[in-house]
Symmetry: C2
Subunit: 438 residues, 2 copies
């Protein structure tokens, strides 16, 4: 009965997973265990990945044992790992929750690269989605905050997003599935707890099929968001030009739009202005008036609004950050970890391996300049950074946020988080291996 | 203190009301009384309109007395009227709530016409807006259901929409304002009550400035909705053509859009399809496949989706509805009320006055046909109905929903709800006056 509903949904909406190599992120809780049983029954090609965050002592270890047993019972390959989460969180000055999240996803992506998985599957469901919606609603948000958890983004797929916690519970009961109660679930944080145990039950009293309605609502909002994005892209092309890193917004074209404020907000929302009324007033202000944040200034200049960097230096003129040989970790302006390792795993965009003896210290971390070039991994020969950014379709904003890690002689080692330079690749002659991670 | 915040907001956001003639819809409850005091203090040109719905016996009468006294105290003109609401609701087979709403707004529009008011002001506030949002959310909705109550639509303006009930209460206290407690408020319907007294307080515990955040959210969503509308209008022009009342959607253009489903939904959402998955499947289906509702059929026809009427008759071939001389009210297919009256007030789009002796019975109510013409009020000479519809920019869907009231000799008396025909206008020679209202 429940099997049929679930199976039908998976087979009709996720048929693209059928011939793929799938990695299920499994905690041992009911949701991820049900997802595993379901896809196992439907004969998808799955493996399991379980993180032991060592946050709940013996309970965490028992979770790990449970996953190993499940793996044996179902004859599914399971990858497990243990993290010193608290220590990592302290070192990176992150909350435990964020640290666990970073550890988890970095590791999943590593496994994906190492063993050629096509997708990572998580067991998020409709209740999670509604909770996220309501949390964003209480905080104040725009359409993008109400479109909910995506079914697919990048390599992550969430096949259970259309099902409620209750349906998952029923499926587990009917199919006699065992799982591990997650103690942290019962004492989850105040906010989500209140929404889960107080607000959502109240809303369900008003409409017992709340989750079903909400799933439709969420899908409609995602569609509307996509239409907004299409229109904004079109308007961007029409009214914005870029001149040496400065965005120029054509005001006479802007004011011809049905709602210039709405469009200006959408065009500039990534730049973190807070005084939007002041921003809107610039449209009709005198030449020379401006609104600034720490990072950017929007300047009225005759028929244009110019978006400039507030510090007046172009990114290339900022002082580089120096990294000495003894630095094993920096946390400012970005988190960067240097580890001596013995073995190289496949790379992902969050970490690279280099031959330590090829590096000339001190290293520096700086923004890009005109004329920069590098030898991108996976490509033949050298390439201008400006050309690389253009090919990657990065916005002015994205480009300003990218750091280049350079050697003492200013050779680029890593376009951080994007692409490694081949010149520092480990070779068969490498004796000391250095792993760099963000 | 509170005066300053309110006054500043009104003066900076509603300055367009300053030189206008304004009619405040006033119940006697705290919200509308505060709005009245506030605009009175700010010296706006206001009058009051109060309906006594006679639903709460003596209490209703005391409300009316309260308004009359307030009018004297502040030296503001007040219009009051009494309705037999229950009787009207029974006759029109409407809920009491809907009947009161219809009576109220019809009368407000009548006053607006008769005394040349520019705007009708209502005292809806941020809590009302959030309640409406949450009600729609529980029912399941799209973006349009989450954009909330509009600040301005047509002639109705809601100056307090950015303020919370609490702020309004504080304003009343600080300014020593008296109002009438509305007994029906305390025992309001289950749904709104639960949202007001249980769900919103819970959400406020999570974020004390919930309403402020929500007001911003609501404004952002309205902006997104407008961007969606702009894009859909553009896409409509690009991919839809109209041929003798049939909409033709160009599939090869549709599938080039980023998300054909999202666009197809937006283009067709007024046609009340429920099986949207079936509708989407038509894009790739064989020629001849179709999806139908009671009213419409969407048919795959080679490279097009055709939107046709399900009953296969064109609207002009449907049987007209006959109205005999003794009919004083019909309720099917639309509500239409005929009253002998002695005095003519200014017309509005919901009612017309005709010279009863010019009518040849039986009248008929029918859809338009090619070749129909009439003598529209406010214009010189005659005009084809098709031309009139085109000038009014009506969609195929709108046109199908319009009724023509015709005399026995098939002369058009009224394009119902839109425009009267001059040939039946009362003149100085008129002895019997008939009022027709929807």
């Amino acid at each position: 009965m429940y099997l049929t509903g679930f199976a039908k949904h998976i087979n009709s909406n996720f048929s693209f997973l059928k011939e793929k190599k799938l990695l299920i992120a499994i905690s041992g809780g009911i949701d991820s265990v049900v997802l595993t049983h379901l896809l196992h029954q439907l004969k998808y090609n799955i493996s399991l990945a379980h993180c032991n965050f060592q946050l709940r002592g013996k309970e965490s270890d028992l979770d790990e044992v449970f996953i190993k047993n499940l793996s044996k019972d179902l004859s599914i390959k399971a990858y497990t790992t243990q993290f010193k989460t608290e220590q990592f969180a302290k070192e990176l000055k992150l909350s435990t929750q964020l640290a666990a999240r970073k550890l988890r996803y970095d590791w999943f992506y590593e496994l994906t690269q190492e063993y050629d998985f096509d997708y990572i599957l998580t067991a998020h469901h409709a209740d999670d989605n509604l909770e996220t919606f309501l949390i964003n609603l209480t905080r104040g948000t725009g359409l993008e905050g109400l479109t909910g958890i995506p079914v697919i983004n990048d390599k992550i797929v969430r096949p259970l997003l259309a099902f409620s916690q209750e349906e998952i519970n029923n499926y587990a009961t009917k199919n006699n599935i065992q799982w591990r109660e997650d103690a942290s679930n019962a004492e989850t944080k105040y906010l989500r707890n209140k929404i889960r145990h107080e607000i959502i039950p109240s809303l369900k009293e008003l409409n017992p099929s709340l989750l079903e309605s909400f799933t439709k609502t969420s899908a409609f909002l995602k569609q509307s968001q996509q239409i907004v994005n299409d229109k904004i892209k079109e308007v961007y092309e029409e009214i914005i030009s870029e001149d040496r890193g400065i965005l120029k917004i054509n005001i006479s074209k802007l004011v011809q739009l049905s709602n210039p404020k709405a469009y200006l907000y959408q065009l500039l929302k990534d730049y973190k202005f807070t005084e939007w009324n002041d921003v809107y007033h610039l449209i009709y202000a005198q030449s020379g008036k401006k609104v600034s944040t720490n990072l950017h200034t929007l300047l009225k200049d005759r028929d244009f609004l110019l978006l400039l960097r507030t510090d007046k230096k172009s990114p290339s003129n900022q002082e580089p950050i120096i990294i000495n040989k003894e630095n094993t970790r920096i946390t400012n302006p970005i988190n960067l970890l240097f580890e001596n390792v013995h073995q190289q795993k496949k790379i992902n965009t969050n970490s690279i391996y280099v031959d330590k003896n090829l590096l000339n210290y001190p290293l520096s971390l700086r923004k890009w300049r005109e004329g920069d070039y590098f030898y991108p991994s996976g490509m033949i020969g050298k390439k201008k950074i400006s050309k690389y950014f253009k090919d990657e379709k990065l916005s002015v904003f994205d480009k300003e946020n990218i750091w280049l890690l350079c050697s003492n002689d200013d050779k680029i080692i890593w376009v951080v988080g994007k692409r490694q330079d081949k010149r520092f690749f480990p070779t068969s002659k490498t004796t000391e291996l250095l792993k760099m991670s963000i």
